[in-house]
Amino acid sequence: MAGLHKSEFANPVINWIDTRLPVFTMLQKEYGVFPTPKNFNYFWNFGALAMVNLMIMIATGIFLAMNYQPNSELAFDSVQHIMRDVNYGWLIRYVHQNGASMFFIVTYIHIFRGLYYGSYKSPRELLWMMGVVILLLMMATAFMGYVLPWGQMSYWGATVITNLFSAFPVVGPKIVTLLWGGFSVDNPTLNRFFALHYLLPFVLIGVVFLHIAALHVVGSNNPLGIDVKTPQDTLPFHPYYTIKDSVGMCVYLIVFAILVFFAPNFLGDPNNFIPANPLQTPADIVPEWYFLPYYAILRSVPNKLLGVCLMFASILVLFVLPWLDTSRVRSARFRPIYRQLIWVWVAAFIGLGVCGAHKPEGVWVILSRVCTLYYFLHFLVILPLLGKLERPLALPESISQPVTGGRGGGPLPSGATTKPMEKA
């Protein structure tokens, strides 16, 4: 029995299992004693929160699927049946509906954390790219999920977004027919979107697993952006970060609960309370709030194909970000110019979101063009040049012994989020 795993667990049952299938050893290694930089601020909660959110979505989604009818004649009423007649159906549905918004809030903050502290840089490029795949899968899943209630905005949103693919020459119309399963958005579209909406979250779990596996190989980045040098720089994941993530999770649940219980339709569109009607186009077709920035990029140029390409490029550019950013300093704390420009980029992204919510007229066209321009300039021109031109501040020697006075003093981890003892 040469290959038998030597388990260190005292409990005989656990030991018996662990000897044959070392899941307990693995958990202990990856989540128990896993060495984690000791200087995380609360921005490092958001990965765990996204994981929790995914589980909430899958759990509520399965129960919704038990009562939902993916048929264009029945879908709208079956959702109302869930809201009115199924025991606590309204709770499950509102958690699922607002869970999508919470998922994007959490994920966008998680991505911002990566951008601000340079988490995408070597050796975490693949980890970052896996994250971009997760974002794309999330978007596809959310889009198809929004179609399922078969309200006016579901129907017309699906029509507008699927039609975008028709902009591609030659294959475009074929792709659209394939997406629709016919020649307009109709029952076959709803059927396949439901099937895919149920499938993709499980694909998502797979990619999330790879994302975490890669993280546990290269280790976490940290607010200083410097490598872990000695064991003094780290803490075991449990109990230090299990409890810190729990604090973040409680706050996250409060925000979630306020949304679900007191403003469940705040982020929704009134038009989706009207059953889908192919003969009547709503005055304004707007996607869900989390897609508004990309929608604004799409509409910022008068050419449909160019708009579609720009929209896809706005996500795809993230794949090559690790190579576009030529600076070897990770954390924005030590990059005086980048620390400013990342906020300009955030302003441009939020600006695009605001533009996306308005008809493309007058000032909104100009604003969305300015913001689109900066969005791409930031990644394609500024970051490659900045790495060469910017003079970073002196980096601390190690996480446990930062150089005195050398800390960049980023505007982020202020107030309650960072207590002196955590800065290390």
Binding site: W90, L253, F273, Q340, L341, W343, V344, A347, H358
Partner: protein
């Protein structure tokens, strides 16, 4: 850099300020009313909702369906099982198909869906000059401005301004987008007689009707808010405890 940052912030702020200006060109914003269900602890005024149901049954139900509601749902605005039985049995509802294959009708039961005034959309259009009276089950949620908008619409009928060109068969309403609505002024003073002696002014009837329609669209609201208060209080306590434990665990880290 700082200049660039403040410029971006300025553009962003200008965008936010411009938003309501652009929106208000279409129709005036419905004035906010005070509603019993407005606050975090708010509940439906059941007497008002019951009067609203009476207004719906006697006035609106001649043209508007509420196909997502069953008579049994009326327990949610405080009707007793006996009252619900009586209400349902006064209504003739479709009962499927009889042994000869002809459509059958019969007395409603609490399990029946609200009776629709027209058998289908085409019949509804034909009887209303081509306009389809929308189903009212979700109307409060389905309109920008929600309950305030519905109240404003019901009380917003007026003579058109001097130079306003009205189409044939349309009616002027201050709050309807485009101001021309196919529905004639539905309510007039004293149109219904309330059993509890409440005077049936247009404003009172509109208020009661909106109370009823808001309940119809969100029957779970009271239970939802009450559950929410308890859950949020629990979570705040939980956050405090978790944070205290976190401080204790981290106390030895330097």
């Amino acid at each position: 850099m700082r200049a660039l940052r403040s410029l971006m912030a300025g553009i962003f702020a200008a965008g936010l300020l411009a938003a309501p200006v652009l929106a208000s060109e279409e129709a005036p914003h419905p004035p906010a009313q005070k509603w019993s269900f407005g606050s975090v602890f708010g509940t439906y005024d059941l007497a008002s909702a019951q009067r609203g149901f009476q207004v719906y049954s006697e006035v609106c139900a001649n043209c508007h369906s509420m196909r997502l509601l069953h008579y049994r749902d009326l327990a949610g605005i405080g009707f007793s099982p006996e009252q619900i039985k009586a209400i349902a049995s006064n209504v003739t509802v479709p009962m499927g198909i009889d042994d000869q294959g002809a459509p059958k009708e019969g007395k409603g039961t609490p399990a029946s869906k609200f009776r629709s005034p027209f058998p289908n959309d085409n019949a509804a259009r034909a009887a209303n000059g081509g306009a389809l009276p929308p189903d009212l089950s979700l109307i409060v949620n389905a309109r920008e401005g929600e309950y305030d908008y519905i109240f404003a619409l019901l009380t917003g009928y007026a003579e058109p301004p001097a130079k306003f060109a009205m189409q044939d068969g349309m009616n002027y309403n201050k709050y309807f987008p485009g101001h021309q609505i196919a529905m004639p002024k539905p309510l007039s003073d004293g149109q219904v007689t309330f059993a509890d002696g409440t005077s049936a002014s247009v404003e009172q009837m509109s208020r009661d009707l909106v109370m009823f329609l808001t309940w119809a669209a969100n029957p779970e609201m009271v239970e939802r808010k009450q559950m929410g208060v308890r859950i949020v209080l629990f979570l705040i306590l939980m956050t405090g405890l978790t944070y205290a434990v976190k401080r204790k665990i981290w106390a030895d880290v330097h």
